[in-house]
Structures are given as C-alpha cells and as structure tokens.
C-alpha cells in the first residue's frame, strides 16, 4: 500500500479540477471498493478526493415524473426511500440483495455503478490480468471462470460487472449525469459500461476526472410491477451467479411492455433487448418466456466453469416472468 494524500471536496468544481489535473488522483465515495484495491495494490492513487460531503446526497422527485438520485446517496438509504420502494421495487430489491448491511451503509450510488470487477485474478497482483496490466494476459480465460462472462466478452477479458444496482438501473433505462472539466453530459446507464474488446482496462466511457453527480430514473409506470431476482451461492452476502431485473406489463394475456436486464453475464449490466423483442406482443406463457431467454442467449459463449449460467439464466428469467405475469393476472 502506497502512501497517499487525502482531500475532502467542498465543491464540485474544485474537486473536478483537482482530479482532472492529476492522473494519480481518484474520487472516493464510500471507499468500500477503492480502499480494498489500494490495500491489494490493484490501484495506487497518489491522491484521494472525498466527494461524500458534496450536495449529492438526496433523492428528488422531479416535476416531469423523473426521479433524481444523488451520486452520494448511500445504498441503504436509497433502498429505503419510499419513492423507490413504491415506483421501482426492482431497484430496492437489487440494492438490498447486494453486499451486506454494513457495506450498503457506506456504499454510494456513484461508487456502486463504478465498482470494478470481482475477478479474482484482477484482484491479485501476482497473477496476469489485462484489465489491471494491459497486455499481461487474461488468467481467467483458462483458469477459474465460474463467475465470468458468457455474453459480450473478448479474448482479452471475460470479467463480469458485479453490481446488482446497475442491473436494475439498466432495466429501468436510467441516465447517468456526469460533470467534467468541459461541462455536463448525460450517459444512458446502458452505455456507461463498456464491453472489454481490446481495452479491458477501460471499464466505462467516463474520462479521467469526470464526476458522476446523479442518476435519473424515467417515470415508467409499469415498473411498479417489477422484480430483481438474484441467484447466488449463499442466501445472502454473495455476488450474483446470475441475476434478472424485469418489469412487464400485460394486457389480455399478452405482454405489452417488457424491460429486462441480466447481471452476472457480462462486462456490463446486460440489457436484454433481444429478449424484450421476443416478449413484445407475445402471450404470457412459459414458452414465450423461454423463447425470450433463448433469443438473448443465442450468442452466449461459455467457458470451462460457467456453462451453468445458460440454463440458470433461462430458468430464472422464466421464473421471474411467471411470477410477474401471474401477479398481474390475479
């Protein structure tokens, strides 16, 4: 662990200026991911700029029906927020299925989105990893890859993104509000994270110094019937093997709206557009559900230890849709 400077940011502009200027500087939110990486030697920032005192700690309902979540809102607080529980239950469920109570009390919205992969080779500086050390090789490709990607991976990297919250946000079509030295921009959450391609060291499209200030949720009325289902090795406190975030609307036995995203399958929260297309207008039957899963998984490529993710995803999606459509029917 390398000695480092620590600053507590009092305003966003100077925080952005400080980090942008200094390639060795990083923002720190709850620190539950970053500090681990510093201890492990995965990252060695020279300076930390603590953003948790910036005024991004509230959840607001906007006049146009959108909901804005500040970047420093803690995961526990967000999950308890009435507007989230009522209007976007899948998001509350996703948050509560992540990590542990202690971690959620510290973890921030921005930090959760930007947490890095849990690939054990990435976290171990004694093993090669293209994401940590570009060009060194990918130890997971032919190593222990039970938790690794089946969709959108590359020869360079087969890591998965570990966040539960981000999967729910992907299903909800959330936007990420970003501020940088050149001003503000909005990035759809489905476009925030990258696929690994030839540059697995780049997790996201953010540039150094860009600060996430908020996440915005669209109104999406049918999201009141939504579900986040996480399949994991333990009943709590384990990362997803596979997870499904879904919101559907059914009318006369047919699916009229569907938002689906998968976790645990890819380098990013995986918005399942092919599955959504297959569901759209189709009868709410087991066959439809399975066909939707198959449509999305058609391109999947499995590794030595993760073949199970295909049937597990298919079954879990079917189970979630069954539950949501029955709930609606009754």
């Amino acid at each position: 662990m390398k000695p480092f400077d620590y600053q507590r940011a009092t305003d966003a502009d100077s925080a952005i200026a400080t980090v942008s200027r200094d390639p060795e500087a990083r923002y720190i939110g709850g620190g539950t991911n970053l500090v681990d990486h510093m201890k492990l030697g995965v990252t060695q920032p020279g300076k930390l700029v603590d953003i948790t005192r910036l005024p991004y700690d509230s959840v607001e309902s906007l006049p146009d029906g959108r909901v804005r979540i500040g970047a420093t809102v803690r995961n526990s607080d967000l999950a308890a927020e009435p507007v989230i529980r009522q209007r976007y239950p899948l998001l509350a469920q996703a948050l509560l299925s992540g990590a542990s109570g202690q971690l959620r009390n510290l973890a921030t919205t921005g930090g959760n989105l930007l947490q890095r992969t849990r690939c054990p080779y990435f976290q171990d500086v004694t093993t090669p990893c293209n994401k940590r050390e570009p060009g060194s090789g990918c130890s997971a490709l032919e190593g222990w890859n039970r938790h690794h990607a089946v969709l959108g991976a590359s020869e360079r990297c087969v890591a998965t993104h570990p966040s539960d919250m981000a999967v729910a946000l992907a299903a909800l079509d959330a936007d990420v509000l970003v501020e940088g030295p050149d001003g503000q921009r909005t990035v759809p959450v489905t476009e925030l994270h990258r696929l690994p391609g030839d540059e697995p060291e780049q997790d996201t499209v953010l540039r150094h110094g860009e600060l996430v200030t908020a996440v915005e949720l669209p109104p999406l009325p049918f999201a009141v019937r939504s579900r986040y289902r996480k399949v994991r090795d333990r009943a709590s406190y384990a990362f997803a093997l596979v997870s499904v975030a879904a919101a559907v609307e059914v009318s006369d036995g047919a699916i009229t709206e569907a938002r689906i995203a998968f976790g645990g399958l890819a380098h990013k929260p995986w918005r399942a557009t092919a599955a959504e297309r297959a569901l759209h207008g189709a009868p709410a039957t087991e066959e439809t559900f399975r066909a939707a899963a198959d449509a999305e998984l058609a391109e999947a490529e499995t590794l030595r230890d993760n073949e199970f993710k295909i049937p597990m995803t298919r079954n879990t999606l079917a189970a979630v849709l069954r539950e949501l459509t029955q709930q609606e029917g009754s």
Binding site: M1, K2, P3, K39, G41, R118, P120, Y121, D124, T126, T127, S139, E142, G143, W144, V231, R232, D233, R234, A235, S236, Y237, A238, F239, L241, V242, F308, P311, M312, N315, T316, A318, A319
Partner: protein, 693 residues
C-alpha cells in the same frame, strides 16, 4: 427465525463471556506491549524454484523501516522436524506463498508499503499442484512412522463378497480443500529481551509452541514463555506453530528488545496456516438381500505437500463403523507443490464419514429400506477390527431419538416427489462417529488462597470452546466448593504443562487432570487446608485404554430445499442427537454442537478453496470469495444428546464434543438433497449448478 430461539439448556455461563462481549478479553495481537514494531511477511509468487536475487535497498530506505529480513541475513535455526518452521534457511521455494522474508517497521502501513518495494527474482522450476490420481505423485504413507496413521486394512475377501452381493454401491466421492478461517486470524507478538523470549501467540497449545520454538532458536525452554489467555477459534489451524511464528521470532532477535507484532491477513492465511486437504474417495458396499453388509471397501486419496507430509486418514472412518465380514480400508497420498495441509475440525472423520454415510444412503435406496433401519441392521456387537468391546455405543439410541424428534416416520422415501411452491423438499439422515482420545502429560496445580477460595492452574488453551468454564466446574465439583470459589488460570506456559487443544480431548484430558489434582490436593491437605498450600498432579494412566473401543456417536438429520429453477440449496432445519459421554456444561456444549453442525452445513453447501494449478495457489483467497455459511443460510438447528454414563473413557466420563458435530452433517444434507430432487451429488460442496438440468 423461531427455530433459533429454542431454549439454551441450563449450565454455568461462560466465565469469560462478559469480558469477551465487552471487548476486554485480550487476544494475541491486543496485548499491550511497549514500543512495538510491525512485521509484514514477504511471500513467494512462484510455486517451485529458488530466489535468485532479493533486492531490499528501496524498502530499507523507507522512513520507519527497521529491518528487512531475508534468507541472506536470517539467523540459522535448528532443525526441529517441521519444515514449515525452517523459515529463511535457504533460497528454495517449495510452494507459492512460502515465506521468503519480512519487513519490520514502525507501523503496519510502512511495513506493508516497504514490502511492496522489495524486488524478488526467481529461477522457476516446473511445479505440479493438480490433485489427481496419478502414479507419478501417489504413494502409501509409512504407517509405522507415526502413531496417527493406520496401515491398510484387509479382512476377508472383499472382491468375492462384493461380486456375490445382492445389492451393491460403488461410487466415488470428492471433497475440496477447505480453509479453517477462524474468527481471530493468526497473530503473534514476540519480545526477545534479556529475560528471554516472550510470545503472545494465538495457538492451541502454549507448551508445544514453547518447546518447538525454544528448540528452533536453541535457547533453554525455561527462558521462553508463551501466553494465550484467549484464542478466537482455531479448528486445527493453530495446532502447530506455523512459519509466521518462527519469522516473527527471527525478527525479534534483531530489534534489541522491542516487541515485534505480526498479524496475518485472511489472504495470507490461505497460504501459511494449513488447510483440510482435498480427498477423492471410492466406497464399495456389498449387502445381502436384507441390507446386511457383506463387503465394505473404502479407499481414499488425499493431498499432501511434497515438502512436508500430512496424512489425512479419511478412509479410516470405515474401520469400525459398521459390521462387515469383509473389509478393505486404504489411505493414499498425492504429493504436490502446495502448502502443507493440516488437521481441520474432525480431520479424516469429516470427509470420510461424508463418503461412507452417503454410500450407506445409496445402499438403503438400492435395498429399498429405510436408511435408519439399514444402519441399525449393521450395528456391530464389538468393534469390528480390534474385536474390543465398546466402552459404550449409543448410535442406535441417537438415530431412534432423532427420528422421533425429527418426525422421520412421516417420511415418504421416494425421491423428488415433494414440492412446496418453487422448492423441492427432502429429508436426510447420516450417522456420526468420532474417536474418544486422551492426550497424556498434563498437570494441574490446585492452590488454596484462603477461606475456601482456590486457584487452579493448567496451561491448557481455551480456543473458544468453553474449556475455561468446564474446567472451573470440574475443579469446583472435585474440590466440593461453589463455582465462585475457583479461579482458573490457563493458556500460558507460566502454568503447568498441558496437552494440545485438539482431538476433542480438552475436557477428557485436562478435565481428568484437574479432577485428579483436586483429589490429590484433598488427600494431601484435607478438607480444611492451610492458606497457601498447593498440590500439582496429573491424571493417572487409564487402565481401560486398549481394552475398550472408545467413540462418541451421533445422528444428523436435515431438511433440504432445492429450488426447481435455480438449483439453490437451502437447509431450513437440522437436528443432531449425540452420545458423547458426560456433558459437563449443557449450555456451552449446546453451543459446541451447534457450531460443529453449522460448520458442517457450511462444508456441505459452500466451502471450497479453489486451486489454480497453473499458479499453485488458492484463487478465492478471501472471505468474499471463500464462502462460509452466513446467518441467512442457517435455519433451525436443534441439538440434543442421550444420557450416557461411560466409566471407561476417563475419570470425567466425557468423550469430547468439539468435533463430532461436524461429522456426518454434510452427508445428511446431501442425502436430503437427493431425497428432494432425485439427483445424487457426490462432490462437495452442493452448489446450485449441480442441481440444474
């Protein structure tokens, strides 16, 4: 979780309970010492070869670094028969993670930072870390060389009996490497000053640590003291001192009396303090039409390390469990370039009984009879191999009482037929057995302070089991004084010699010692002793050892749910009924059994140290990656025991309860998962993908 609120049975409360929950009971690293330095170990990043260059200049230049130890400057140590303790004695690397040096600095942060600046170059040699059945690495351990090993057993003609059997099972079971992960990580503070060497060390036997370390560094053992008043769990991983203790002592030799503190991280513990080796066990059972065993064969292959042999004896679980005229039991080792395995809670029995008790369940299915009935039909009259009578054997009582409490008679034996919502539901049973051992050589001092108040001293280490409380009780009982009149001191070499906390022997060995010392005290000083008189005595040899077969028994029951869509496995309900001789303190015993069963559940569902053979290391080497059952995984666990009076085992009549709780649990859960789904998984742990089809 209503099941968890079941009444805790009566019995004196843990005497140190208040100190522990208020944080005032000092663990190894917390002992106040003056002006300490902190040690950060350096570990090899190759699995085999040698260090060709180790450049410490940059590290030494860091402000606050006191010393950087390597094999170039470390003192020579005496051989003590344990290669793990021979740290920094050469440039050789036998396994990945091996200690190759240490940075000692004013703060742990400086030490860690400087450790990252040490530049190490290696010459790599090809390594082999893949556990498998391969003549190139497999050998038969020399049973004559150690009393802890049993030679191959061959009775009758197993092959012929198996060929003629009406029903047979022939299956291979595997268990993965598992790491102990006690709550308190391994830690030591070493102070080497004019008075000698003092170690505040988290261990299972302070006298053993003292004797080994004194021999290692070549000083008189009277000049070494080892202190361990509280130890936060060990499970075998602190049974022998590991390399970090020797390393810290080497460091303390160079700090002119300043104490050196070393606390291992979780990740370091996956390399340096032992683990339960993986096993691959083939079990063949042959039975007559009624399910009586005619042939029992159990062959186990277990991993060891090339640089230090450790022989798990999993197959030995089948030596004396059931009657069977024909029997073959063998244990083989596969030697690899890996860290040394060691004892882990119920070594041998835990993996061995998993295999045997799963096979027995498979046999019951083949025969078409109830698995409890099958076990009852195979009860031996005398110990099958030795022919000795049992000192007591109440396995059948455990099974019957358990069946009653668990509601076993309502069970429909057909697998895969009960569904509640999205969950398939099943129940399973397994038997448990653990040998009743006795470690000789302990002594206790009974000291009369005044007015009927006694101080009792014994150097035994309470690793969190409740020994301090049980020994206080036994002393009070033998002295015939109220509990409050006894102050027990333990854990340190300042007190009389005590055997290791292991083999579930604490209450038997130290308890008998305390009882006999109290009796000697009364013989010498009567019931109205003078102030300040004392007696030191040990337990006499037990004439019944060798005349009786001595084991504790148990019956484990589990209800398991497997999710139809995802394969997730849940265990809402477990029951364990044990026959373990005298239960000295029902309250703390209940907690011991509960802990053992919970650890068994964890073994069944979660624990798996995943080895990457290419590197020779455990990949999931932290508690986020290595799963241990959490609260949400544990449903209702009910514990009970049968009254058992066994006059033969030892003066206390206790058989030991530290390990039996973990034995058989994984089999009961696996058997229940089979009953739920019809899928027989023979490889632990029972992760969701194994139930997905």
């Amino acid at each position: 979780m209503t099941g968890m609120t079941r009444a805790i049975p009566p019995g004196p409360e843990r005497v140190e309970g208040r100190a522990k929950v208020t944080g005032t009971a000092p663990y190894a690293f917390e002992h106040p010492v003056t002006d300490p330095l902190y040690l950060h170990p350096l570990r090899a990043t190759i699995a085999r070869g040698r260090v060709t260059r180790i450049d410490t200049d940059a590290a030494e230049r860091v402000d606050g670094v006191h010393t950087v130890l390597t094999h170039h400057n470390a003192a020579t140590l005496n051989p003590v028969g344990d290669p793990e303790l021979a740290v920094l004695q050469s440039d050789g690397i036998d396994y990945r993670g091996q200690l190759i040096g240490a940075v000692v600095a004013e703060t742990p942060e400086i030490a860690a930072h400087a450790a990252g600046l040490v530049d190490v170059r290696y010459e790599r040699l090809p390594h082999d870390s893949e556990f498998r059945d391969d003549a190139a690495i497999v050998y038969t351990p020399d049973a004559d060389a150690s009393p802890m090993l049993s030679p191959d057993l061959e009775r009758g003609d197993v092959d012929a009996a198996f060929a003629e059997a009406a029903h047979t099972v022939d299956a291979t079971y595997t268990t993965p490497p598992e790491h102990h992960n006690p709550l308190e990580p391994h830690a030591v503070i070493a102070t080497w000053d004019e008075e000698g060497l003092t170690l505040h060390d988290s261990n299972q036997g302070s006298h053993l640590v003292r004797d080994l370390l004194a021999a290692l560094v070549g000083i008189d053992k009277e000049r070494v003291s080892v202190i361990a008043p509280h130890v936060g769990g060990a499970f075998g991983s602190k049974g022998m001192p590991h390399g970090h203790v020797a390393l810290t002592v080497l460091a303390a030799r160079r700090t002119a009396g300043r104490p050196v503190k070393c606390a291992l991280s979780r990740t370091q513990m996956f390399e340096l303090v032992g683990y339960r080796p993986p096993t691959r066990q083939r079990v063949r059972l042959g039975a007559d039409p009624e399910g009586r065993l005619t042939a029992t064969e159990h062959d186990s292959l277990e991993q060891t390390s090339r640089f230090k042999q450790y022989a798990e004896q999993s197959a030995s679980a089948s030596r004396e469990m059931y009657a069977s005229p024909n029997r073959r039991v063998t244990n083989r080792l596969a030697a690899l370039d890996v860290p040394a395995p060691t004892w882990m809670r119920a070594p041998g029995e835990a993996p061995g009984m998993y295999a045997l008790e799963t096979a027995v369940d498979e046999l019951a299915v083949r025969v078409g009879i109830d698995p409890i009935e099958l076990r009852v039909r195979n009860e031996p009259e005398v110990a099958p191999v030795s022919g000795l009578p049992f000192s007591s054997r109440n396995l059948v009582a455990c099974l019957r009482q358990g069946a009653e409490r668990f509601g076993w008679h309502e069970r429909d034996p057909r697998p895969g037929t009960r569904r509640e919502g999205d969950w398939l539901v099943g129940t399973g049973v397994a038997a448990a057995s653990f040998p009743t051992l006795f470690f000789p050589g302990s002594l206790a001092t009974i000291h009369h302070e005044s007015a009927g108040k006694y101080r009792v001293e014994i150097g035994a280490v309470d690793i969190g089991t409740g020994s301090r409380t049980a020994l206080t009780q036994l002393a009070a009982e033998a002295l015939e004084v109220p509990l409050e009149n006894v102050e027990l001191r333990l854990g340190s070499t300042e007190q009389p010699h005590a055997s290791l906390a292991g083999g579930s022997t604490g209450t038997a060995s130290w308890g008998s010692t305390v009882v006999e010392a109290a009796r000697s005290f009364r013989t010498e000083h009567g019931s109205e002793p003078a102030e300040g008189v004392e007696t030191t005595a040990g337990a006499a040899d037990n004439p019944d050892i060798g005349k009786y077969a001595m084991h504790a028994y148990g019956a484990q029951f589990a209800e398991v749910r497997v999710h139809v869509d995802t394969g997730e496995v849940r265990v809402p309900r477990m029951l364990g009924v044990f026959a373990a001789g005298r239960i000295v303190n029902p309250r703390t015993a209940h907690s011991q059994f509960l802990g053992g069963m919970t650890m068994g559940l964890s073994t069944a569902l979660h624990e798996h140290s995943v080895v990457d053979e290419r590197f020779g290391h455990v990949v999931n080497h932290d508690l986020a990656g290595y799963h241990i059952a959490g609260n949400a995984d544990v449903g209702s666990i009910e514990v009970s025991w049968v009254d058992e009076h066994d006059p033969h085992v030892n003066p206390v009549g206790a058989k030991g309860i530290g390990e039996i709780g973990i034995v058989g649990t994984a089999a009961a859960i696996g058997n229940a998962a089979y009953h739920a789904t019809g899928v027989r998984v023979r490889d632990l742990p029972l992760t969701p993908e194994k139930f997905l089809y």
